[in-house]
Amino acid sequence: MPAYKFYYFPIRGLGEAPRQIFALAGVEFENIGISDEKWETFQKTETPFGQMPLLEVDGKQIPQSFAICRYIASQHGLAGKTPFEAAWVDALADQYKDFNNDFKKFFYVQLGFEDGDKEEYKKEHGIPARDKFFPLIVKQIKDNGSGLLVGSSATWVDILIAEAVSRIAENVPGFFESYPEIIAHQQKVHSIPQIKKWIEAR
């Protein structure tokens, strides 16, 4: 088994999905949190792109959160069972990324990272982004038929979206009131034993 080291800030953010993929795969990894103080040096000396998360596999580095997710998932059967399924896992993940690029304009204000009127930003950016993206996810869950997004077992995009949903729901009360299927999906993913265990221990 290769030696995995995973570097990120000691927060959930872009790091949580990769960590949960390791947990679901049952793969040991060194979960390294780089504090804000250490980041300046680490960024210059250790990172290929000046960014985290960063995965090291037997000393070889992989940057970019989705490349990391897909790499770990593919090695452990969590990236779809056929090329077509894998393409759909990728497509849903990229659609989520597009959603998040819009949504974070509101979310950063909601979380207090940026200035702005929360209600105004929610109306301008939060709700439209939600209502453009989540109906697609609801449809995918219904069409797929297993309660998960692609195929009959959990893939990395189930983890990605369930984590995003839980983080949003924790910070924006009632945000998914009219999306019960989304909450059901999030609960289903987070009750998978390995993921449940990871969440309880973090």
Binding site: I62, S65, Y71, A86, D90, A91, Q95
Partner: protein
């Protein structure tokens, strides 16, 4: 087993569809290059999985999202790197490129004529920093990879195609954008002079982007 039928549906430009058209052509695979104009698009929107293009249809089954399509075709035709680690690096560079397109979008929208704005101001304040950030990374990676005409490994990958085509569009709006990135320029030169790619570039519809 017969070869699958491929249809790539996109707007008439290069944009997010071009890298996939190129891979289909380079692999010698017949495909329907289904170009849908902006005027016709509303008729077709509902028949796509996410209300967007490009969409790849393989034996009647649809795949949305440009990079999911590109990676699928790259894996089918051998343009995705030769090892899982190489594939991960192709993916990482492509996603870094995607982050860059988000950063540079305010400039490109004005440059392409889709919005009003001070093009010179946006070039200086938005485009140049975004270009420098991405291409510094690309130049570094190209050198670390051995300055062999590829960003990753020793054969063509879809990120070579992605970056090379974009450079052709960008330089019409940002003159001398790549002066500081000679190794990347070499990759573009080597990629675009591949005979089979040159054949595609020469025969494809001419579009500004």
């Amino acid at each position: 087993k017969t070869m699958p039928t491929y249809k790539l549906s996109y707007f008439p430009g290069r944009g997010l569809g071009e890298v996939s058209r190129q891979m289909l052509h380079l692999s010698g695979t017949p495909f329907e290059d289904n170009r849908i104009t902006m005027d016709d698009w509303p008729k077709h929107k509902e028949s796509t999985p996410f209300g967007q293009m490009p969409v790849l249809t393989v034996d009647g089954k649809q795949i949305p999202q440009s990079f999911a399509i590109a990676r699928y075709l790259a894996n089918q035709f051998g343009f995705a790197g030769k090892t899982p680690l190489e594939s991960a690096w192709v993916d990482a560079l492509a996603d870094q490129y995607k982050d860059y397109t988000t950063e540079i979008r305010p400039f490109l929208m004005v440059a392409y004529g889709f919005g009003e704005g001070d093009k010179d101001k946006l070039r200086k304040e938005v485009a140049e920093p975004a270009i420098n950030k991405l291409f510094t990374i690309l130049e570094k990676k190209a050198k670390e990879n051995g300055s062999n005409g590829h960003f990753v490994g020793s054969s063509l990958t879809w990120v070579d195609l992605l970056v090379s085509d974009h450079m052709g569009i960008l330089e019409t709006h940002v003159p001398n954008a790549f002066t500081a990135f000679p190794t990347v320029q070499d990759i573009r030169k080597k990629t675009t002079s591949l005979p089979k790619l040159k054949e595609w570039i020469d025969k494809r519809p001419v579009t500004p982007f």
